[in-house]
Amino acid sequence: VEASNRAAPKRGRLSRRRLLAGGAIAGASLPLLHELIPHEGLHGGGSATAEAAGGHGSHGGPAGHGPLHADFRDGADVDHVANGFDPSEILRDFDEGRTTRLPSGRILREWDIVASDKEIEVAPGVKYAAWTYNGRVPGPTLRCREGERLRIRLVNGSDHPHTLHFHGVHSAFMDGMPGIGENRGGGQIEPGGSFVYEFDAEPFGVHLYHCHVAPLAAHIAKGLYGLFVIDPAGGREEADELAMVMNAFDTNFDFANEVYAVNSVGFHYQRHPIQIRRDELVRIYLANLTEYDPVNSFHVHGNFFHHYPTGTSPEPIEFTDIVVQGQAQRGMLEMRFAKPGLYMFHAHVTEFAELGWSGFFEVS
């Protein structure tokens, strides 16, 4: 209830009429501009409202004056090198760990994950003292296959106690819960400590992991989370796969977020559109790790997708252009783009969209 109260004052409108600021548009050619016109038509409501606000009387910025949609200031970008990760690369960076074969013939898959404290830039010029897994937010996208044996070694290099809590099927001692399993070396992992989580990869689907140390909201909001993808034993159809974690940052510690994003940097994919090939199957592993707001959503322009909630069923439940997720909810989206152009995607909790959670697919 409190969270929804906090969210209430946030309001805003989206105008999608501008293409892109600065160099981000460099790759877009004139035909692409034409493609944008029908996609605007799909969302005339939003644009028309924003235009009406600006268009009547002497007030407001008519087209050609001022920005046509929300964005950070011109000319400045986040220093991805200093951050140690680039959202454009995180997108297709699936960490499959190391594999060996057990005497039984099963595959053993192992990862090493280090928790550490690190300042990251979440908007150009704006730093946030994050807590990270392997130096990035979100943490590595762990990818495995149904039925494998998994071993994940957590080394706590942070100044604070942490755990790895997986959403999946496993024993209580492997749950990453403080107070459970300390006598066996698990539970809450203190600074300098380490622990190996071991369990089977089940069930297949799109899952996640995060820290479960109290205060819980703070440990998650600071950046300790990541995607955990278990492929079905038979695999899935070949696709251009994208890992997207919807997240946000409470930079001023008022239990409400100032910057919203997919994969941590606000407006990143708006300024650096995701390159997509025409007619190719696109599969998005989407999770909502936004703290302090009860729901987040994903909406794509000019297209519809098949929605597989939690990715645990081979059949989609819905053909839609919007999916709403509560905290820690996740799913799989599959779509193809038939025509080239710039297609926006953004939270249709529109105030999030205008506070950073907006991007483009650039189809060619």
Binding site: P9, K10, R11, G12, R13, A21, A50, A53, G54, G55, G57, S58, H59, G60, G61, P62, H65, G66, P67, A70, D71, F72, R73, D74, A76, V122, A123, P124, G125, V126, K127, Y128, F249, T251, N252, D254, E258, V259, G266, F267, E351, E354, L355, G356
Partner: protein, 397 residues
């Protein structure tokens, strides 16, 4: 005995050198301290403190402009700006040094009458919020605007005061007792204005940056005006021998009252001008009539000490302008160059001036025989307060 030989060497040193020597030493010590990198002191305890105060907001078609001042001890970097929870590209911002300011301009299709909340996101993720309660275009300062503000100042300042002064012939016919009552009325009236200015000054001071003193500016302004008027008063007394013999000339007293009221009306003009500029003031006939009634009594206060004298009309006009014209100046200043620190200081000046006038008037309110407050004086004082209170309800600027 011992002091003699010791002071011998110093007696050749010129006095100015003795006066300057400690300052030279201070400068040398400071240079040494800096040169050695402040030995023994850590840089700071804790994180830098970021404080920004919004000084002025200007709305133009399609644009919101905000002037912010760094109020805290550390530099602040303004990195992003949001309007109603939507980030917008903008000009300005960046690093703002201590006491420095920056004007941030955000293109935004604002709509008249709607409310806006802006937040500035600093490099550390801190936010500074500014609200616009009801958006209205900020008038640009051109001849037409200055003319309008001038007219407004004349309506609420000059004309009412002049009308109030027309009570002078009436005052000449009434008895000394009633005059004393009217002087008491003037004191009550001024006391109310002083209190009003104090409260308003403190409110303005609280809203603006604190780096320049905040509420202290009101007090400093009051002290400056009080002492300045006391100085002027002393000079006037010294010059007019006759006045000194008679214990202060009526004209002299009227001038002091007019000055005090003038400084008060400067504050009133500031309030009107800045409210108008912010779109928070409806320029209706009601407002003008309210101010007229409120300020007419000020005219009466000015002429009250003149009942027994026959000043030239030119001097009366001069007094009227002294008391009323600052409203015009205030309206111009308030609408075009609003700065909370300056306004707080000017409100303080008004308070100091009024205090000085009250001190000057107080003796003539007392019963001349018994030397204390009688019924007439008390009734006058209360009436002054009551009239100001009641007419003050008519206006809110």
């Amino acid at each position: 005995m011992e002091a003699g030989p010791r002071s011998q060497p110093l007696s050749r040193v010129p006095s100015w050198a003795l006066g300057v020597a400690p300052l030279v030493l201070l400068a040398a010590a400071a240079a040494l301290f800096f040169g050695l990198g402040a030995p023994g002191l850590d840089e700071r305890n804790g994180v830098p403190v970021e404080e920004l105060a919004v000084e002025r907001t200007v709305l133009r078609p399609g644009e919101i402009e905000m002037t912010v001042r760094n109020d805290g001890p550390d530099p602040v970097r303004v990195e992003q700006v949001s309007v109603n929870d939507s980030y917008r590209p903008f000009a300005g911002g960046g690093e703002i040094g201590r006491l420095g300011s920056s004007t941030i301009s955000v293109p935004y299709p604002w709509v008249e009458g709607e409310a806006y909340e802006l937040f500035l996101l600093t490099s550390t993720g801190a936010t500074v919020t500014a609200t616009i309660d009801a958006a209205a275009e900020t008038p640009s300062v051109d001849a037409g605007f200055l003319g309008l503000m001038g007219l407004l100042g004349i309506y609420v300042g000059v004309i009412p005061v002049a009308i109030g002064m027309i009570w002078l012939p009436f005052l000449r016919r009434v008895g000394a007792g009633l005059i004393r009552g009217l002087l008491a009325f003037t004191v009550g009236l001024l006391a109310f204005l002083g209190l009003d200015a104090l409260l308003e000054g403190l409110e303005v001071a609280g809203s603006g940056p604190q780096a320049f003193g905040g509420a202290a500016l009101v007090i400093v302004g009051a002290a400056v005006a009080y002492l300045a008027l006391a100085g002027v008063d002393a000079r006037m007394r010294a010059r007019t021998e006759r006045a000194r013999r008679e214990g202060g000339s009526p004209m002299h007293m009227a001038t002091l009252i007019a000055t005090g009221i003038g400084l008060h009306n400067l504050g009133e003009g500031l309030a009107i001008g800045s409210s108008y500029a912010a779109g928070a003031l409806a320029l209706g006939a009601f407002l003008v009539v309210g101010f007229a009634i409120h300020n007419t009594t000020e005219g009466l206060a000015i002429v009250a000490p003149l009942a027994d004298s026959k000043p030239r009309p030119a001097r009366l006009i001069g007094l009227g302008l002294l008391a009323g014209a600052p409203a015009v100046l205030g309206a111009w200043l308030g609408a075009s160059a609003y700065n909370p620190s300056l306004v707080a200081f000017l409100f303080g000046c008004g308070i100091g001036a009024i205090a000085q006038v009250v001190v000057q008037l107080a003796p003539s309110v007392r019963d001349r025989v018994a030397g204390r407050l009688d019924g007439t004086a008390v009734a006058g004082l209360l009436a002054g307060v009551a009239v100001m209170y009641a007419t003050g309800l008519l206006v809110s600027a």
